[in-house]
């Protein structure tokens, strides 16, 4: 590989790394801000340690046993979720939220996948422009006619536009694709919350039935009563916090979408204007020469 190709490749790799780094950093920041903004979670000790401890945290990754446990838990959860989902909720708010979240989650998943594909095509096109630029460069150096200056200028232009195109793709990735991915996971988390609440509801109803049965048989009434009260308490608590969380979810969602869409539009504009300026100035030079 020649020296120029080597430096070019190095630059490309650096740009790619920078793009990925920006993405990851943004994700982490959003996560931490979310935790900090939450009235309950912000008081968690683990969180404080994470923010303040100035030495290595030595976090151990999950070992095989724990991963297996997670897997089984997931299986149980999804099976249970199916059973629980059939239960109709008395509360209108939660019923509405359930249907909404289900539909929303699916559509976000679809949009996230499609945006990923779109951005990948964009990156591919930018790569092609890169190859075209280097071919034109070789043609320019080899040619002995007027065309050599022409080719070199166009090759230079394509180099620059390619960088811009790559940045467009990266920004779309950052602002649009990541947004959708995040809300994909958020909506999943919201669904999980609703599941837990439904689970609590089912437990509560079961406890009620058990209490009635116990009263009828006049046996273990006290035991049934306490368990029923526990379930009722749990259910009400979860309903309350769920309601609050879901409302927050909506507000956050709207704010995040707004911020990202505005930034996306602004960046697209900036890059398109930059591209246009490059193209026009190059055209001016080329037309002036011929």
């Amino acid at each position: 590989m020649t020296k120029e190709e080597f430096t070019k490749m190095k630059q490309e790799l650096e740009a790619e790394y920078l793009a990925i780094f920006k993405k990851t950093v943004a994700m982490h920041e959003v996560f931490l801000c979310r935790v900090a903004a939450h009235p309950v979670l912000r008081k968690d000790l683990n969180f404080h340690v994470f923010l303040e401890y100035n030495q290595d945290l030595s976090v151990r990754g999950k070992n095989k046993k724990e991963k297996l446990e997670d897997f089984f838990k997931n299986v149980v959860k999804s099976a249970d979720g199916v059973l629980v989902a059939g239960v109709k909720d008395v509360d209108d708010f939660f019923e509405h939220e359930k249907t909404f979240l289900l539909e929303y989650h699916n559509r976000v998943k679809d949009a996230s996948a499609k945006s990923d594909r779109m951005i990948r095509s964009h990156k591919n096109a930018a790569d092609d422009i890169n190859r075209i630029a280097s071919s034109l460069y070789t043609l320019g150096t080899q040619d002995s006619t007027d065309l050599c200056k022409f080719f070199l200028k166009v090759s230079e232009l394509f180099e620059k536009t390619r960088k811009i195109e790559a940045r467009v793709a990266a920004d779309e990735d950052l602002k649009l694709a990541d947004l959708l991915k995040y809300y994909l996971r958020e909506s999943q988390a919201a669904k999980d919350l609703l599941y837990r609440r439904s689970r609590a509801l089912v437990d509560y109803e079961n406890a009620n039935k058990a209490l009635d049965k116990a009263r009828a048989k006049n046996r273990d009434v006290l035991q049934a009563e306490t368990s029923q009260q526990l379930c009722c308490h749990k259910f009400e608590k979860i309903s309350e916090s769920a309601k609050q969380e879901l409302i927050d979810f909506k507000t956050r969602r709207v704010a995040a979408f707004r911020k990202n869409l505005v930034e996306l539009a602004e960046l697209e504009l900036k890059h398109a204007k930059g591209n246009l300026q490059l193209l026009q100035s190059c055209l001016g030079v080329l037309k002036g020469n011929t």
Partner: protein, 510 residues
């Protein structure tokens, strides 16, 4: 019919002839005629019209024809005696005087048997005719049914050149007509050193789809690609000052009925013959070892080799770009739909509206990408493809030069051998054999000189052709790349418009 004998035109002229490349060896009866071109021409028959000469030629015995037909060649006008050929068999070529007789006059070399009536017109319209002709290929329509169906294209010519009978006319042609035209031109001009633009390629798959009658996106695209390629082919052909005046070309553009070029079918005997010839040529190319005395040719050949490699690489990259842009357009369209759905299920009204707006923007952008991909293809990619094919024709012309050189060398070696044989015969007492040897030697000497002249002629023609080709290449590339960049500018301007319209919508989310 006598074999034709051909003298290449003198140096420094634009005189071009039709050639019968393979029939260099005249019958013994024509031997005396051979010696004549070698000396100064006895006659100076040059006319401004074909009439009298033609009669002369037609009346005379074909054998004598060549003895008398000498012609002056003009330095300026791209004169050419052309023949309306009916197929791959080339026409008979005229004889021209050697270099020493050159007067700048408008004259014609002519052939004996066949001439085209428009020949007269060509002479009159000579000189002062600026290049003003525009050909368009349009209105593809399907004619016939089933496997015998074909697409007929309308070829319209608009010109102010006097070469043509009308200023504005059109004819209907089918694809095999174009191929037939190309094969006629190639057989007439390629081996004299002219770069004949190659015709668009056959595509059995594409055409079968059209024949079967599938009216879908891909067959429409195929027809459009072909139409555009045919248009470019014709424009390139008429840009060549010599080819423009060829009666085959004129007939193609003007006459409403054209004999069907059957020999262009892929599975015909002519097709098979072509394949065999191609294979033979490839073998020959490897075995000819030429002593290149002219560094210019070597340098140019190398230049074209490099150019070929680079253009192919660039072409591949551009095709990949076209493909990815089309993919991008499809994916953007899908994303637009998905975003619209998301907007529908979103229950916050302002956000829902913004998402629908986003979907609309993305839909417009996908159309933009589609248009840009078409621009990429029709402007950039097809230009590169055309030039890759043109370079094959250029390389072919260089190969013909090598073949001509080989022929010359062969006849020279044969002459040498015959001389040695004659020298040996001197010492024997066989007067008739000696005479025969002397005759053969004379004949061969003529041939050697002819070979040398051919070689010089083709070298000269190639030099001119290459400089014309390079000029045109520079012009083509500059023009098309500027057009392409302008299309990119348009795309960016549209993008700016769309995103500027979207931005306030996004900001309006509360």
């Amino acid at each position: 019919m006598a074999d034709t004998v051909r003298d290449p035109p003198p140096d420094g002229t634009d005189f071009h002839e039709l050639e019968d490349g393979e029939e260099l060896f005249p019958e013994p009866a024509a031997a005396p005629e051979e010696s004549q071109p070698a000396s100064l021409p006895a006659e100076d028959i040059s006319t401004n019209s074909n009439g009298p000469k033609q009669d002369l030629l037609f009346d005379d015995d074909p054998e004598d024809l060549f003895a008398e037909a000498t012609e002056e060649v003009s330095l300026d006008s791209p004169e050419r005696d052309v023949l309306l050929s009916d197929g791959p068999s080339p026409a008979i070529t005229p004889i021209t005087p050697p270099t020493s007789v050159i007067t700048p006059r408008i004259g014609h070399a002519h052939d004996d048997m066949f001439t085209h009536s428009s020949f007269d017109e060509i002479e009159e319209e000579e000189g002062g005719d600026s290049f003003d002709i525009h050909i368009s290929v349009s209105d593809p329509e399907k004619v016939g049914d089933g496997m015998n169906a074909y697409m007929a294209y309308k070829v319209s010519t608009k010109t102010s050149m006097l070469l043509f009978k009308q200023k504005d006319f059109s004819v209907k042609r089918r694809f095999s007509d174009f191929l037939g035209l190309h094969s006629k031109l190639a057989s007439k001009y390629l081996h004299v050193g002219y770069i004949v633009p190659p015709a668009p390629e056959k595509s059995i798959v594409g055409m079968t789809k059209v024949k079967v009658g599938k009216e879908d996106q891909s067959s429409n695209e195929f027809v459009e690609k072909r139409r555009s390629a045919l248009e470019r082919y014709l424009m390139r052909t008429v840009k060549h000052p010599i080819l423009l005046k060829d009666p085959d070309v004129l007939q193609f553009l003007e006459s409403s009925e054209l004999p069907r070029a059957v020999s262009t079918q892929a599975l015909s005997s002519a097709g098979l013959l072509r394949m065999v010839n191609k294979a033979a040529d490839a073998v020959n190319k490897m075995t000819i070892k030429m002593n290149e005395s002219d560094a210019w040719f070597e340098e140019k050949q190398q230049h074209f080799e490099n150019l070929d490699v680079q253009l192919r690489k660039l072409h591949a990259s551009v095709e990949s770009l076209v493909c990815h842009r089309k993919e991008l357009s499809v994916n953007t369209a899908q994303f637009a739909k998905s975003a619209a759905m998301l907007g529908n299920s979103e229950d916050h009204t302002a956000l829902s509206r913004a998402l629908s707006q986003l979907a609309e923007v993305e839909e417009k952008i996908d159309q933009l990408h589609q248009d840009q991909a078409n621009g990429d293809f029709y402007l950039f990619s097809e230009l590169l493809g055309d030039y890759v094919r043109l370079l094959t024709a250029v390389k072919g012309v260089f190969e013909h030069r090598m073949k001509t050189w080989q022929k010359w060398q062969d006849s020279q070696m044969l002459l040498q051998k015959k001389r040695e044989a004659e020298a040996k015969l001197q010492f024997t007492n066989k007067p008739d054999k000696l005479q025969q040897a002397k005759d053969e030697i004379k004949e061969l000497e003529g041939k050697v000189q002819q070979g040398e002249r051919d070689f010089e002629q083709i070298s000269k023609t190639i030099r001119k052709e290459v400089s014309r080709f390079e000029k045109e290449r520079v012009r083509d590339f500059k023009m098309i790349i500027v057009k392409y960049l302008e299309s990119l500018v348009l795309t960016q301007q549209q993008l700016i418009k769309y995103w500027e319209a979207f931005l306030p919508e996004a900001k309006a989310i509360s």
